[in-house]
Symmetry: C2
């Protein structure tokens, strides 16, 4: 690129109207001068060609993405992916590692999720010449952009209101066997877990509307037993029905589930598409919960793809009330920093949108509550065990009871082991973990 063309993709943010720009923070690795690489990135992701042949015009001032800050983190680093360097036809052994902040004029595409994704993680971003690794680390939206999004209908406060639970984390449980079990015995498991103290009995992310367990029948059975459990326990309960399906069936399945007594619905956000959730939100009468399938290739590598908090913000804007996402378990290959950043993105101010409940998932049990509470520094979170409830030696009633006992121990400030001396369910839960 010519120097004047490079310069045209740089700007002093003080000269720009903040309300017109989305702020993007990328990590990138490049083979060439970082200033040129970042300018080329802006070109590819916005005004690829900024004038007609033979016409004296320039669309960059109004439509070009602009670098507002660039920091070279390392100018002699080994490439994170020698494969991608080679795939670009280079044999470079050293690259620049760069942290760059770009302001992107969103009137290029408007307040639409698919077009946003195209602009900030589309062809331009991942196929700029001489950039051999790139990751979108964070995104910030001006109030004017956020104002077009509904966000959570219920949010954390709405969920607490529904459940009448104010002072502790919310206890979700994934009914198991997750796949194959007919609706009647499946509903019975949820019922027992509610009696034991579970707040939210939920379908597995793999269980949708299928011939052997239709949403119609499943929600009917669980809806009826939910009301019975509420009568017996004097507590409010939630049945979270997984309505993940083709996007033109989401509204219909929501209506069937809610009519039958489901009082929350789950959609695997990335698999159905965030835009489909935004559509459902306009219609929904119950909280909507996201599950993180189909997202791992974007989020797992620290030098590549998209950091999860970007998707967390977008999912909150789309209208999810609860976000189930990869948590601290080593199986989930997510850094502690990322899990925390995600929780913050759920709870921190985002325009006037309500907070979304973070549920950092991963092979949880009663003993997960204390470390989660300490790490997150709030009771505004959920846990979502499966086997710890539904594989408990006493069955789901005992499993759910062990969760409540686990929280009692935290509340009283006693060790799990000490509390387990007088709580058989918790004792068995600890034993189960030791196996």
């Amino acid at each position: 690129m010519k120097k004047s063309d490079i310069d045209a993709f740089y700007a002093d943010p003080a000269s720009l109207d903040r309300q017109k720009y989305i702020v993007l923070n990328y990590y990138l690795e490049t083979l060439i001068d970082p200033h040129e690489a970042a300018a080329h990135l802006c070109q590819e992701m916005s005004t690829a060609q900024w004038s007609r042949v033979g016409v004296n015009e320039d669309y960059r001032p109004e439509f070009g993405a602009k670098v507002v800050r660039l920091e070279v983190l390392d100018d002699q680093a080994p490439p994170s992916s020698p494969y991608l360097v080679a795939a670009m036809g280079s044999s470079a052994a050293r690259v620049f590692r760069v942290d760059v902040v770009i302001w992107y004029p969103y009137h290029n595409f408007g307040t639409k999720i698919p077009n946003l994704l195209t602009a900030v993680c589309g062809e331009g971003v991942f196929h700029t010449p001489n950039i051999c690794a790139i990751r979108l680390l964070d995104i910030d939206f001006p109030e004017s952009f956020l104002a077009d999004f509904q966000g959570p209908q219920f949010g954390v406060e709405g969920l607490r209101e529904m459940l009448g639970v104010r002072d502790r984390p919310l206890l979700f449980g994934v009914i198991k066997p997750n796949v194959g079990l007919a609706p009647a015995p499946f509903a019975q498991l949820g019922f027992e877990a509610w009696l034991g103290g579970l707040d939210v009995a939920k379908d597995d992310e793999q269980l949708g509307d299928v011939a052997w367990s239709s949403v119609e029948e499943r929600s009917h059975r669980l809806g009826a037993l939910r009301k019975r459990a509420e009568e017996l326990t004097g507590e409010k309960k939630v049945y979270l029905c997984n309505i993940t399906d083709e996007v033109d069936r989401l509204v219909e399945l929501h209506d069937i589930a809610v009519k039958n007594g489901a009082n929350a619905v789950m959609v695997n956000g990335m698999a159905a598409g965030f835009s489909a959730v935004r559509m459902l939100r306009k219609h929904a009468r119950v909280p909507i919960v996201s599950h993180f399938d189909f997202m791992a290739p974007f989020i797992q590598l620290p030098w590549f793809g998209v950091k999860d908090q970007v998707f967390t913000k977008i999912q909150r804007m789309a209208g999810f009330d609860v976000l189930i996402y990869p948590g601290f378990d080593s199986r989930l290959k997510t850094s502690k920093e990322d899990v925390l950043a995600n929780a913050r993105a759920c709870l921190q101010p985002l325009g006037s949108l309500k907070p979304m409940l973070p549920v950092p998932a991963g092979s949880q049990w009663a003993g997960s509550l204390q470390p989660l509470y300490e790490t997150l520094g709030t009771v505004d979170f959920g846990i979502v065990p499966g086997r710890a409830v539904f594989g408990h030696p006493q069955g789901p009633r005992g499993g759910a009871a062990s969760l409540r006992q686990g929280w009692e121990a935290v509340r009283k400030g006693v060790s799990l082991e000490e509390h387990a001396r007088v709580h058989e369910e918790l004792r068995l839960a600890i034993e189960m973990q030791r196996k």
Copy 2:
């Protein structure tokens, strides 16, 4: 896992009904015995818990994914991502590299795209313990599964019919300046390119329905000029309108564009969601074209994510007629093998679904035709230059003419340079490349 539990996730395919299973081929790296790792993968992606506590039952035979073939490629390989190994809490310096074929009973989720993606690239797949890298390499569907999908409405033959072009590749061009130009001058560029010989004038993937260039006005202007270009050239032409937007607007925007004279629509498939395209297909009256935004993090690394041909098959099933995808240009960081595999996935038999036109993209010009024709071994493909048409020194008319001249050279078996001696547009196109 106990040996009997591992064995329960293995099967002889001869004992299974092929029509009930999707065939999945994964590459994976694992820290432990590959046979156990593959069994655990099947468990996580299907029947995580296969019986209720205290009930003598087993859902694995009917609902479990099953390993039918496993090959250890290397038992002492360095991990492709030491980061992911460490993120799992291990310091292993050597891993097993494994190629595994799994049969997955699709009645677990039915013939629905979001649920398919959840099953084959969801939480289970990317978060199985002790698997530190995994890539879905290929997917094959039984006829019974494919029968529920409409596939392309027009396909390659339908497009050729529309254009009256039988014996050569189809020439697409991305109108540039891609972002910022008002509809009237934008349409004029498309018009000139059609006159020069372009078949399909298309919107950039970043140009949607925006205040400064609404689909209503853009399609109106380009629709009218398309008809005029057809009269003047005696050739059929296509205006490909990018209607990528929130999913609940796709049908509406399709209707506006088609009413106004657009005769094909583009949707950025992954960004809008494949399921949204399947919805649009039911309603569409013109060919639907996919652009590959938001897909790179899945497809770029050879040991991670999902190989593009998997998405190609799914997009063909969803109903796309044309697939624009990362081609041979080094900017696109895609191996030659992958580009070819994708073209095959577009054209080869897939149930009774029509073939989809492959358009391997990437900084193309007249000189791209010969190598593409040779490599693909067919004229059933498209090219999609931007600057080579709309940045040509003589403008889009000259740029488009240079493409036709480029193909004439191929057809006559003469070199580009020789043909350029009597074709000024081609001569200038060659000069442009040398800069």
